[in-house]
């Protein structure tokens, strides 16, 4: 058993964890819920020895322990599957798996262990493959294998399903069940998705602003209650249901004011080396319409997003905005043509973390030869008000903003150019409920004002809640387009799996 008592951690003025108590028992899956910035990751990093706490005790059984480094954590039987940054691309699977061990490296032993663990948990993977050749799902398996091989008594998973298909997620939870039930380990599952948490966990703890605000057996609570505890107020499960990862209660699709096609993609093809990432992809989005592009990660969405952000030039195919073809080799051509993008990875291509809020809002603007800081700041102030951007000041670096506010900065910038088309790629990734709600409202409003919206998403609930038509992408091509009325989870699932509707 692992118990945290009175753990506190401050980052300067920010209290990331405020006297947190948490008890995890063997043989249970413990859900850890909380909005962005609630302190979940910080807490786990403390458990893992990556961050040192300011106060509190960690007890293993009844013994207080010190965790000064990840090695200490491993020694105490704590293992973690990180969402980001934990596999090293050019290394092989087995090398990644043994990374962080001690003692000499034994390749055949390591391979055997990988195969053994893979076998035991049903996570097939080739131990000698290089990691950069693997799909997202396979990588996730490697992460799990890496963790499980160390035979941890406590296994922490930080948002493990965001990159998985539903089938893969289901598979993962089966594995976790086995881990908990038959091997008597403890699992901490961090998630935003209420559906997942209610379905998969035994106990659940909700953090809000660094404090534990709710703790219960999962069986004794409801999604509704958990949502309320996370957000701190009542949420109607109607409008925000999707945000919480529950299937929507039928929402009437926005009226399609189909006065012409605003965005027309034709035969877009992108190849990397021999791999065809986008395969003659064609899609139309009408003005005032939200089209959802749904599919499992790794099927070309990221490339399409990059293409529409001007980061990738297709090998073939055209993009038309408002009926006129756009020369995709020209820098910023899509932007000039009236296409706004909320990119999938905002830190990579959405904002410049070390530039100020005002500067980030002006990134795409034609500033004239001389840049007036004063005017830039004033403009930023107006937008911040309009889009509810909470920032210490317009001169604060975007790095200091919360994820939701960073995303608002991106959206504000893209919308202030009055685009005729808005591409939103995974616009709610990593956002908390409040921010998601806000994003949904804004996207609907944008569409309502006549802008064509292309919503690229891996969240079934999200596309079903927002889009009027849903196009399904698989292996880089559109395999079907359904009106939201005809779309069901089953149909979409089949399409995603490559089965024609």
């Amino acid at each position: 058993m692992l118990r945290l008592a009175g753990i506190s951690k401050r980052y300067g003025p920010v209290v990331a964890c405020d006297a947190v108590d948490l008890a995890v028992h063997q043989g249970e899956i413990h859900g850890l819920l909380g909005e962005n910035g609630a302190g979940k990751s910080t807490l786990m990093k403390i458990l893992l020895g990556l961050v040192q706490r300011d106060a509190g005790t960690i007890l293993r059984g009844d013994e207080p322990v010190e965790i000064g480094s990840p090695q200490d954590a491993v020694a105490l039987g704590i293992g973690m599957v990180h969402q980001h940054f934990s596999l090293i691309d050019p290394l092989t699977v087995w090398e990644n798996v043994v990374l962080g061990d001690k003692g000499r490296v034994d390749r055949s032993l390591a391979c055997a262990q990988v195969e053994e663990v893979a076998e035991r948990y049903g996570l097939p993977v080739d131990p000698t493959a290089r990691v950069d050749r693997l799909s997202a799902g396979e990588r996730q398996r490697v992460e799990l294998i890496k963790c499980l091989r160390r035979d941890p008594s406590v296994l922490i998973l930080d948002e493990p399903t965001s990159v998985l298909t539903q089938a893969e997620s289901a598979e993962l939870f089966t594995v976790l069940r086995r881990v908990v039930r038959t091997e008597n380990r403890a699992v901490i599952l961090i998630s935003h998705k209420l559906a997942e948490v209610t379905a998969a966990t035994d106990r659940v703890t909700v953090l809000r602003r660094g404090r534990v605000v709710y703790e219960s057996r999962t069986a004794d609570t409801t999604a509704q209650e958990l949502a309320k505890q996370m957000v701190g107020r009542d949420v109607s499960l109607k409008a925000e249901a999707a945000a919480l990862g529950l299937l929507p209660v039928a929402v009437s699709p926005a009226e399609v004011t189909s006065d012409g096609v605003a965005l027309r993609l034709r035969d877009l093809t992108v190849r990397y080396g021999g791999v065809t990432v986008l395969d003659r992809l064609s899609l139309d989005v009408g003005a005032g319409e939200i089209v959802g592009l749904y599919g499992v990660e790794g099927n070309g969405q990221a490339t399409l997003g990059d293409l529409l952000s001007g980061l990738v030039v297709p090998d073939a195919g055209t993009v038309e905005v408002g009926g006129a073809p756009v020369d995709l080799t020209g820098a910023g051509a899509l932007h000039k043509a009236g296409l706004g993008v909320v990119p999938e990875d905002r830190h990579r291509s959405g904002v410049v973390l070390d530039m100020s809020v005002a500067e980030n809002l002006a990134l795409k603007e034609d500033l004239g030869f001389f840049v007036s800081r004063r005017r830039m700041r004033a403009a930023a102030q107006r937008r911040a008000e309009e889009f509810n951007i909470v920032a210490p000041s317009m001169d604060a670096p975007v790095r200091s903003l919360s994820g939701g506010n960073q995303q608002r900065v991106v959206l504000a910038r893209e919308l202030s150019a009055n685009p005729s088309v808005l591409v939103a790629a995974q616009p709610t990734h990593g956002l908390d409920v409040g921010a998601i709600e806000d994003m949904y409202v804004r996207l609907r409003k944008v569409a309502g004002s006549g802008v064509a919206v292309l919503l690229i998403s891996t969240e079934l609930e999200e596309v079903m809640a927002l889009a009027s038509r849903i196009a399904v992408i698989s292996s880089g091509r559109i395999v079907g387009v359904l009106a939201v009325g005809e779309a069901t989870a089953e149909k979409l699932g089949m399409l995603v799996g490559g089965v024609a509707a």
Partner: protein, 302 residues
């Protein structure tokens, strides 16, 4: 004809040896993500230190060891400045190179040192093999350390746990960090190894090859070593091949007049750098370069 080839080969081996030592070190440091330009300082400092020590103790071997130690000290300083205090590694490298050149030149003008040279090994029977006998079996003994150090370096990088961690650190320091590897510590350790080997290379040049020290004795060999690692596309074998090519090219340049051929000397001096650039242009598609090469690591919030 045979003897001409033999001459060039044997000269090439001697000119390659200091490069090869240092290249093993530089290769390892670069695999860990440090583009270490202070390798010149390590070689020069060690060359001076080895002669100064040999002169003081009367033993060339002690001098050689002192050279290694000086290389390690420079590696330690570099490591602490760039992978602890996080000062830009190129600045540190440039400053250390200037410091080593200044300090050794200063000290050589303010004191006098006696020359010393380590002994030569001449392996009976083998030395009589035509063509390769003289070049490979009649050498100053430290050359034979390469027989151990090259495989050892390879083993360290490719097979040892430490090397696995080094590679992880050179490719993706963030990931290595969350896995519990102390990124900057590994990089500092890699620099120590680099210092030891570059030091050995420099010391070999002084107490092995030449037997004395003169101002700026290494004359840019450290940069040649960097070129060799680049030429070798961050593979040990090809890096050493690069050293050999550069060493042999120099040997040819020095031997060709004796054979009645002259070539433009500036072009020949520039050749290693030109070859390294060409290698990068030609092989760039393979992208063998450690992905975090030259980038500092700092644990930071997203």
């Amino acid at each position: 004809m045979i003897s001409d080839v033999e001459t060039i080969l044997s000269s090439g081996v001697r000119l390659t040896a200091p490069l090869a030592f240092a290249a093993c070190g530089e290769y390892l440091a670069e695999r860990a993500g440090t583009l270490n330009i202070s390798v010149e300082a390590m070689m020069l400092g060690a060359a001076f230190g080895s002669i100064a020590t040999a002169s003081a103790t009367g033993s060339a071997t002690t001098g050689l060891l002192a050279g290694v130690l000086i290389g390690v000290v420079i590696g330690w300083i570099h490591g602490n400045l760039s992978h602890r205090a996080e000062i830009n590694t190129f600045v540190v490298g440039l400053v250390l190179n200037a410091l080593a050149l200044g300090l050794t030149s200063y000290l050589i003008t303010t004191s006098t040192f006696e020359g010393h040279q380590v002994w030569q090994v001449s392996i009976p029977v083998l030395r009589d093999i035509p063509l390769i006998g003289q070049p490979f079996f009649v050498e100053r003994w430290p050359v034979y350390l390469l027989l151990v150090l090259i495989p050892l370096t390879w083993w360290l990088v490719e097979r040892s746990r430490w090397g696995l961690e080094l590679r992880a650190v050179g490719e993706n320091p963030q990931a290595a960090d969350v896995t519990g590897i102390r990124v900057n510590k590994r990089r500092r350790q890699a620099l120590l190894w680099c210092g030891a080997l570059a030091g050995l290379g420099g010391a070999y040049l002084a107490v092995g090859e030449v037997g004395s020290f003169n101002q700026n004795m290494t004359a840019g060999r450290g940069y040649i070593v960097i070129a060799a690692v680049i030429f070798g596309a961050w593979r040990l074998g090809r890096t050493l091949l690069g050293c050999l090519v550069f060493g042999l090219a120099d040997a040819m340049r020095l031997a060709l007049p004796a054979l009645g051929i002259t070539l433009n000397s500036q072009l020949l001096v520039a050749a290693p750098y030109l070859l390294a650039l060409l290698a990068m242009l030609v092989f760039s598609t393979q992208h063998r370069e450690p992905r975090a090469l030259g980038q500092p690591f700092e644990r930071r919030s997203t």
